[in-house]
């Protein structure tokens, strides 16, 4: 008896509590239902199968509708998306345009394109046909698509606040002039490009007049020209990207306030290939990057007031080529290991600040054991200077004469630029 009474009272308590909370819950529930109903009334869900005409469905759909595109092959023509739609591919439906035109032309904001495979965009010289072209829109999201054998991959023009994420873009390169760019952005602002993979295009990622944007965790490899190429694109940040085996590496020009951190530039090897070519770049930060096995790790021309710190230069032909028109840059706390030439420059005057780097070619001593060498290190070898003047002298690479001359020059410097020296070279490599 006692037990049942106790039990009842407990139930009563619980019920009581529930009743007390209930009005509030009901209110929230009602709100949610009403909201959902309102959305449902407005936004319809369309299922598109390969037997249907995708273009017709998109024309019929209202703004904010969602299209679920089922798996299959869709031979489409050019589709203009001029209202905010959500297009979701299920198991990567294939949109094939058979080299006739471009596939999606997005002219509306708030469009989402997700999980679709695009194929066979044709080559033109008048208009840049692309798998997905976004024109003057904002808040467009292009996520997890596959793009194969297209002239341009994703093309953003005069757009802002767009997201390009997780796309896998692979071209079929023939020649530089017959291939477009993987991700191309022109006159955009505040866009986010992340975790994409581009391969086999002219430039993996190309920017012109793009500002305040973030480019991160992308992988750009095997492109005919550059892995990353931008001009006049101020205040952008590039983080954790990987650029490798591109025809001419990475080239960035005419830009200020660039931030590049934790990127890897490797295996850009060839007569005119650069890990990172910086032309007229100013007020920028290049930090924590790795430059490995490039013909030239970093090539600088007309760079000013930029900070290079905590980078690693490993096994490059030239780690750094600094033209004499660079000024007020600082190069600190970097590792130089196994490069054929550490630094080359073409003039007598050096207006840059170099200190606290580790050079594997440094042969000085450290009497007070503070980890900093007591004799300055001159990273420009005599032979590098000679080659800068007479490129044919490269024929004598690794000959005994050259090493002898370099040694003599180290003892009594005459030809190498006086100002190019690391006053405080580190004795041990930095752990970066």
């Amino acid at each position: 008896m006692k037990m049942t009474i106790k039990y009842k009272t407990r139930i009563g308590e619980i019920r009581h509590r529930f009743i007390r909370v209930n009005p509030c819950l009901i209110c929230v529930n009602l709100c949610a239902i009403v909201f959902a109903l309102a959305l449902n009334l407005q936004a319809k869900m369309w299922k598109v199968t390969p037997t249907q005409n995708l273009k017709q469905v998109i024309i019929q759909a209202n703004a904010h509708d969602t299209l679920l595109i089922q798996k299959g092959l869709y031979r489409t023509e050019n589709i203009i998306i001029d209202k905010p739609l959500t297009l979701i591919g299920q198991h990567y439906p294939v949109l094939d345009i058979q080299f006739k035109n471009e596939i999606f032309t997005v002219k509306s904001s708030d469009v989402i394109i997700k999980g679709i495979e695009f194929r066979n965009v044709g080559m033109t010289s008048m208009i840049d046909w692309a798998a997905i072209k976004v024109l003057e829109a904002s808040n467009v999201r292009i996520v997890n698509n596959r793009i194969r054998n297209c002239y341009f991959g994703i093309y953003l023009s005069a757009s802002d606040h767009c997201l390009v994420q997780g796309n896998d873009i692979e071209g079929n390169p023939k020649e530089e002039q017959n291939t477009g760019n993987g991700i191309h952005a022109w006159k955009c602002d505040s866009i986010l490009i992340q975790r994409n993979h581009t391969q086999g295009h002219r430039d993996g990622i190309y920017f012109e007049f793009v500002t305040n944007s973030t480019i991160q965790h992308n992988d750009s490899q095997g492109n005919i020209r550059y892995g990353l190429h931008f001009m006049f694109s101020h205040n952008n940040g590039y983080f954790y990207n990987h650029f490798h085996r591109n025809g001419a590496g990475v080239a960035v020009m005419y830009t200020k306030f660039v931030t590049m951190k934790h990127n890897v530039f490797e295996q850009n090897w060839g007569g005119a290939a650069y890990g990172l070519l910086l032309k007229d770049i100013s007020d920028s930060h290049i930090e924590h990057n790795i430059f490995k096995t490039n013909t030239v790790g970093v090539y600088m021309e007309g760079c000013s007031r930029s900070v290079f710190t905590k980078n690693q230069f490993i096994e490059n032909g030239y780690a750094l080529r600094v033209q004499a028109n660079c000024d007020d840059n600082s190069l600190t706390y970097s590792n130089f290991c196994g490069n054929t030439f550490d630094v080359a420059t073409n003039g007598e005057v050096v207006l840059n600040h170099v200190s606290h780097n580790y050079w594997d070619k440094y042969e000085g001593y450290d009497l007070n054991r503070d980890g900093i060498g007591d004799v300055p290190f001159r990273p420009v070898s005599l032979y590098a200077t000679v080659i800068e003047r007479i490129p044919q002298a490269m024929m004598l690479l690794r000959s005994f004469t050259v090493s002898l001359l370099d040694r003599i020059e180290k003892i009594i410097p005459t030809l190498t630029p006086e100002g190019m020296k690391d006053e405080k070279p580190l004795l041990k490599p930095l752990k970066l």
């Binding site: 007569g271 290939a273 013909t295 032909g317 054929t340 000679v386 490129p391 024929m395 690794r398 005994f400």
Partner: protein, 255 residues
């Protein structure tokens, strides 16, 4: 002729110098490959040694050996044998022993750790370099009767090819800077066996990208089988030519 070669070989192997040389090369080769994790870098370090040590040892040892066996040669000349046969078998003996030493000392570690096309080129160019410096040594030895002079001459030849020649090339480059020198450079390389050997190896290591336009011209030439064959042929010329001249001098010489 074979008999004399055999005796020369026995003689050389007995005096233990060649054994020491083999061991030295073996130790250097092994240590370079075990220091460097990347076999290509080991190969490059080894290349520097080969270009310096191999010609020096070959030329000095051969010259000294020639003068030391002068009495033996005189004795042989008294026998009914052609001088050419005596001279060439002497050459064969020295060249065989030194190239065996090279092939064991450098070839074994290179093939064991390196492998690939560039190591094969390295071994081959080193081998031809040995032969050509032995034949240069014989040329130096027949020119003069005086041992000191002969060794001096051999040293000068080594010095010229390893050091002076590259300096000359550099000065030519400086003075004719304004002219297109790429083709001329190819010719200049052909005139020095050590340069030829060095560039043959470097070209196989994809270093040409560093070399700009000159590199492109060199790459065009050396990367084709035709170019490689021509280079090997020229190196063989550096073996055959000095020994032929030396043999001519030896045959007419008043011993």
């Amino acid at each position: 002729m074979n008999k004399i070669t055999k005796y020369v070989l026995y003689d050389i192997i007995r005096n233990r110098f060649v054994m020491g040389y083999t061991l030295l090369l073996l130790v250097i080769g092994m240590s370079f490959f075990s220091f460097e994790s990347d076999p290509n870098k080991g190969l490059l370090s080894l290349l520097n040694i080969i270009l310096m040590v191999v010609p020096l040892v070959s030329i000095i040892f051969s010259t000294i050996h020639f003068y030391n066996s002068y009495e033996f040669i005189e004795l042989m000349s008294a026998q009914p044998m052609s001088r050419k046969a005596i001279f060439l078998s002497e050459y064969m003996g020295v060249a065989t022993s030194l190239s065996l030493a090279f092939l064991v000392g450098v070839g074994l570690p290179t093939l064991a750790f390196g492998g690939g096309e560039s190591s094969l080129i390295l071994i081959m160019s080193g081998f031809l370099l040995t032969l050509s410096f032995v034949s240069l040594a014989f040329l130096a030895s027949v020119i003069t009767r005086d041992k000191a002079k002969g060794i001096g001459l051999a040293l000068v030849i080594w010095f010229y090819f390893s050091l002076v020649y590259d300096g000359l090339v550099l000065s030519i480059l400086f003075s004719f800077n304004d002219y297109p020198l790429e083709k001329a450079m190819l010719l200049l390389t052909a005139l020095n066996p050590t340069d030829l050997a060095r560039i043959m190896v470097l070209m196989k290591m994809d270093i040409s990208a560093l070399m700009g336009f000159t590199g492109a011209v060199f790459q065009d030439f050396f990367s084709t089988n035709y170019g490689l064959l021509v280079a090997i042929f020229i190196l063989m010329g550096w073996v055959v030519l000095p020994i032929t001249i030396a043999s001519q001098i030896f045959q007419r010489k008043d011993l």
